[in-house]
C-alpha cells in the first residue's frame, strides 16, 4: 500500500520511482508500408496517420490555462490516448477499440478507465475469456503490485466461474514475493468464494518451512484454521500452540510466531490456560526475546484482570512491573518510554494506592490487599 509499500495509499501502489516499463513492440516487423503517403518511423504508424482510424476525431486532454502536475507524454503516448478518449466518448464497441485498449494498458496499466472499458468490450464482443486469462497472467507477472490488474483477473475468474488456475498462479507470484499483499488478498478471495480450503494448510506450512518469519503465511494459517476446524476443538488449539512453540525454538526473535501464539489464546484469556505460564517460563532461558517478555506481561495483566484468587494480586502486579522495567532498561530499549507507560498504567489500575517498587519485599502472608484504585 504501499506498495507499499502497498498500502496506504490511494489508487496506485506506493512505489515511488515507477517501475520501468518493458519496451513493447511498437515497431511492426517487415518493411514499411510504402503505399502510405504519411511519414512512417521504422514501421510504427501513429493512429492519427492510420487510414482505418480516419473516421475518428482524436480527443486531447484539456487541463485549461494552468495545468498542474502535468505529465510530459511522448507523441506516441499522447496519440494512443487521444484515440482512446475518442472511442470512449462515442462508446464504440469494436475490435479496433479492443485492440487499442491493449496498447493503452501497455502504456499505463494503472488507468482504471481503460480496464473498465476493456471489460465492457470483452462482454459486448463476446471475447474468449480463456485468452483473456492468459493475457492478464502475463501482465500480473510483469506488474504484480498493480491494483487494476488483480481486480480485472478477479472479474474474469468470476465470469468464467472457473478458479482452477488460481491457486497455482498465485503460488507462482508468491514464489517471487512471498508477502505480496495483492496476491494474498486474491488468494483469500478465491479460497472463500470457491471453497478451496483443501491443501491450503499444507501450502502455508511449506511457506513457513521456507521462511518462518513470513508474517503473511502466519496470517494465512490463522485464516485457514478459523474457517475450517476453528480453534474451538481442544486438540486443534493444542496442536497450534505446540506448533508455535516449535517455530519459536527455531527462530526465537520472531514477532510473527509470538503474535500467532498470543492471538489464538487471548480470546479466552491468557491466564486461563493451565501450564502455559510454565511452558513460556521454560522458554525464557534459552529462547528469550522482547516478544516472550511482552507475552508474560500480557499473561500477568490478564491474571490481574481476571482476579480469581488463584493469584496474589500484589505479587502478580510486581512481576508484571519487573518485566516492564526489564524491557525498558535492557531487552526492548527502543520502547523504553512505552514500557514505562505500560507499567504506570498497570500500577494505576491494579496498584494498592501506595507506590509499589518492583524491588520491594514480598508482603507478609497475613497482609491484606487493599482494593486497587480504579482507573
Amino acid at each position: 500500500m504501499s506498495a507499499v509499500e502497498e498500502m496506504e495509499n490511494t489508487s496506485n501502489s506506493v512505489l515511488e520511482e515507477p517501475e520501468e516499463e518493458k519496451g513493447s513492440s511498437e515497431y511492426v516487423e517487415g518493411e514499411a508500408d510504402m503505399e502510405e503517403d504519411e511519414p512512417v518511423r521504422g514501421g510504427y504508424l501513429f493512429y492519427r496517420d492510420r487510414k482505418e482510424w480516419a473516421d475518428l476525431e482524436p480527443v486531447p486532454q484539456d487541463d485549461g490555462p494552468n495545468p498542474v502536475v502535468k505529465i510530459a507524454y511522448s507523441d506516441r503516448f499522447t496519440d494512443v490516448y487521444d484515440y482512446f478518449r475518442a472511442l470512449l466518448k462515442n462508446d464504440e464497441k469494436s475490435d479496433r477499440a479492443f485492440a487499442l485498449t491493449a496498447e493503452a494498458i501497455d502504456l499505463n496499466a494503472a488507468n482504471y478507465t481503460v480496464w473498465h472499458y476493456r471489460r465492457i468490450l470483452l462482454q459486448a464482443l463476446e471475447k474468449d475469456l480463456r485468452e483473456e486469462m492468459i493475457y492478464i497472467t502475463a501482465i500480473i507477472e510483469d506488474q504484480p503490485k498493480n491494483y487494476q490488474v488483480w481486480h480485472h483477473r478477479r472479474m474474469v475468474v468470476e465470469w468464467l466461474n472457473d478458479p482452477s488456475d488460481e491457486l497455482q498462479f498465485i503460488a507462482e507470484i508468491l514464489s517471487q514475493d512471498a508477502k505480496n499483499y495483492h496476491a494474498w488478498q486474491h488468494r483469500q478471495w478465491v479460497i472463500q468464494e470457491y471453497n478451496l480450503w483443501d491443501g491450503e494448510l499444507e501450502y502455508v506450512e511449506e511457506l513457513l518451512e521456507e521462511d518462518v518469519r513470513n508474517n503473511s503465511a502466519w496470517n494465512q494459517r490463522h485464516y485457514v484454521i478459523s474457517h475450517t476446524t476453528t480453534y474451538s476443538p481442544p486438540e486443534i488449539l493444542e496442536r497450534e500452540v505446540q506448533y508455535s512453540i516449535k517455530q519459536i525454538k527455531k527462530a526465537p526473535h520472531n514477532e510473527s510466531a509470538w503474535n500467532y501464539l498470543k492471538g489464538i489464546l487471548q480470546a479466552k484469556g491468557l491466564s486461563s490456560y493451565p501450564g502455559l505460564l510454565e511452558q513460556v517460563e521454560e522458554l525464557r532461558e534459552t529462547y528469550c526475546s522482547p516478544y516472550l517478555l511482552g507475552f508474560l506481561v500480557d499473561y500477568y495483566e490478564d491474571a490481574l484482570e481476571t482476579n480469581n484468587n488463584k493469584y496474589n494480586q500484589t505479587e502478580t502486579l510486581n512481576k508484571a512491573l519487573e518485566l516492564c522495567e526489564l524491557l525498558a532498561q535492557e531487552k526492548d530499549t527502543i520502547r523504553r518510554e512505552y514500557w514505562r507507560y505500560v507499567a504506570r498504567s498497570l500500577q494505576s489500575k491494579y496498584g494498592s494506592g501506595e507506590i509499589s517498587s518492583p524491588s520491594s519485599s514480598n508482603p507478609t502472608p497475613m497482609e491484606q490487599q487493599e482494593t486497587p484504585s480504579s482507573d
Partner: protein
C-alpha cells in the same frame, strides 16, 4: 599563569594549522548538516517542481494527479510555505475536476471529483451543469483529496455541489460497509472507507455513508494480532490500521467502538512497528512512509510520545535527498512524491 611569548615564525605555523583544521571541520560539518538537518528549502522546491511537470515515467500517476497535488500542498502547508503557489489558478484547476450533475441530473450517483482530465471532457470550472459523458465519474480518493486541497488553499467550497458529492459517495458503499473507489466498480478495502469518512467530515454531513456498517467493517478487519488489515481475514498492516483508526476518530467514535483493552492491544501492535524508522507489517523492512501511517496512528491513540523520537528522526533524515529534495523509501534510493510529504509531516511531529 604562564606568560606565553611566541616567536613570529611559530605563530605563523600555528595559524596555518589552525586554519587547515577549521576548513576540515567545516567540510565535515556541512556533510553532517545535510544528514542531521531537515533541508526545508530543498523540500519546498521539490514540492513546487512536483506541481509543475513530471516526466513520462510517472504516467501511472495520470488518473491520480490530484492526489499528487494534495501531497505537495500538504507538504508545503506543513512547512508553512504555501505562499509559493498560485492559489487562484490551482483552485480553478481543481474545480475543473469536479463531476457535476448534468442537466437532467441522471448522473448523480457518479458525481465527485476526477483525478485528472484523462477522460477528455471539455475543461469547465464547475460553473453550470455538466456535459454528459458515458464514462465520466468521480473517484472517492480524488473527491477526498480535491476537497482537502481546496480547504488547504483557503477556498470556501462554494462551488462544490455537496449533495451531488454525497450522492456519489453513497453509491460506492457495499453491503459489508466498505467502499468501491468508482461507481463502475473496483476493488474495495479500508483505504476507501477512510476516503469516505474524510469526505463526510469535510462536508460536515455523514448522510453520505452508513457509519454503522463502516464501523462493522472496521471491527471485522481487526486481526488476531490486534493490528487492522484491509479487510476481514487479511494481514494487519500499518496503512489500513491508520485508515481504520483515523476513520473512527473522524466519526468521533474511537473510544465508543473499541474497548480500552482493544485500544491497548492496537497500541501495542503499532508501537512494535518501530525498528528505527517504522515498518508496515511484522518482519518487513522499514519504509519512511510508515513513519507517517504508524506514527499518526500512535498519535491518534495518544502514545506517539512513547516512541523513540531520535531513532525515527535519524532514519527519516537518512532517506532525505539533499540534492533534489524530498525523501525516499529507503536510504540511497530515489525520492518519491508520496513519501516526501508524509515524511515532512512525520518529521514535523518530532
Amino acid at each position: 599563569m604562564s606568560n606565553v611569548f611566541f616567536h613570529p615564525k611559530d605563530l605563523h605555523k600555528l595559524e596555518t594549522k589552525l586554519q587547515e583544521k577549521q576548513a576540515k571541520e567545516e567540510e565535515e560539518s556541512e556533510r553532517l548538516k545535510k544528514q542531521i538537518y531537515f533541508l526545508k528549502d530543498r523540500h519546498v522546491r521539490f514540492f513546487q517542481r512536483c506541481l509543475q511537470v513530471l516526466p513520462e515515467r510517472y504516467s501511472s500517476y495520470e488518473t491520480s494527479r490530484l492526489t499528487i497535488v494534495f501531497f505537495a500542498l500538504s507538504g508545503l502547508d506543513v512547512l508553512d510555505a504555501l505562499e509559493v503557489v498560485d492559489k487562484p489558478s490551482l483552485i480553478e484547476w481543481i474545480y475543473s475536476l469536479q463531476v457535476v450533475p448534468t442537466e437532467d441530473q441522471s448522473n448523480l450517483g457518479r458525481c465527485g471529483f476526477r483525478g485528472s482530465s484523462h477522460i477528455g471532457v471539455p475543461y469547465s470550472t464547475s460553473k453550470g451543469p455538466g456535459s454528459p459523458h458515458p464514462y465520466d465519474s468521480g473517484h472517492v480518493a480524488m473527491t477526498y483529496t480535491g476537497l482537502a486541497c481546496l480547504i488547504i488553499l483557503g477556498d470556501d467550497l462554494s462551488r462544490v455541489n455537496k449533495e451531488a458529492c454525497l450522492a456519489g459517495l453513497k453509491a460506492l458503499q457495499l453491503e459489508d460497509g466498505s467502499f468501491y473507489s468508482v461507481p463502475e466498480g473496483s476493488e474495495n478495502d479500508m483505504r476507501f472507507v477512510y476516503c469516505a469518512a474524510c469526505i463526510c467530515y469535510m462536508l460536515d454531513d455523514w448522510s453520505g455513508m452508513d457509519c454503522m456498517k463502516a464501523i462493522d467493517y472496521i471491527r471485522k478487519s481487526m486481526s488476531y494480532d490486534n493490528g487492522i488489515g484491509q479487510g476481514a481475514g487479511l494481514e494487519s498492516h500499518g496503512g489500513s490500521t491508520f485508515c481504520a483508526i483515523a476513520t473512527l476518530c473522524l466519526m468521533g467514535k474511537l473510544e465508543d467502538k473499541f474497548s480500552e483493552r482493544e485500544l491497548n492491544r492496537i497500541r501495542r501492535w503499532c508501537i512494535l512497528r518501530q525498528q528505527n524508522g517504522f515498518h508496515g507489517r511484522p518482519n518487513k523492512p522499514v519504509d519512511t512512509c510508515y513513519s507517517f501511517w504508524v506514527g499518526a496512528t500512535l498519535e491518534l491513540l495518544d502514545v506517539f510520545q512513547y516512541t523513540h523520537f531520535e531513532k525515527n528522526r535519524n532514519y527519516i533524515l537518512s532517506t532525505q535527498d539533499s540534492l533534489v529534495g524530498g525523501f525516499a523509501k529507503w536510504p540511497d534510493s530515489h525520492p518519491g512524491k508520496i513519501t516526501a510529504p508524509v515524511c515532512v509531516c512525520s518529521h514535523e511531529y518530532i
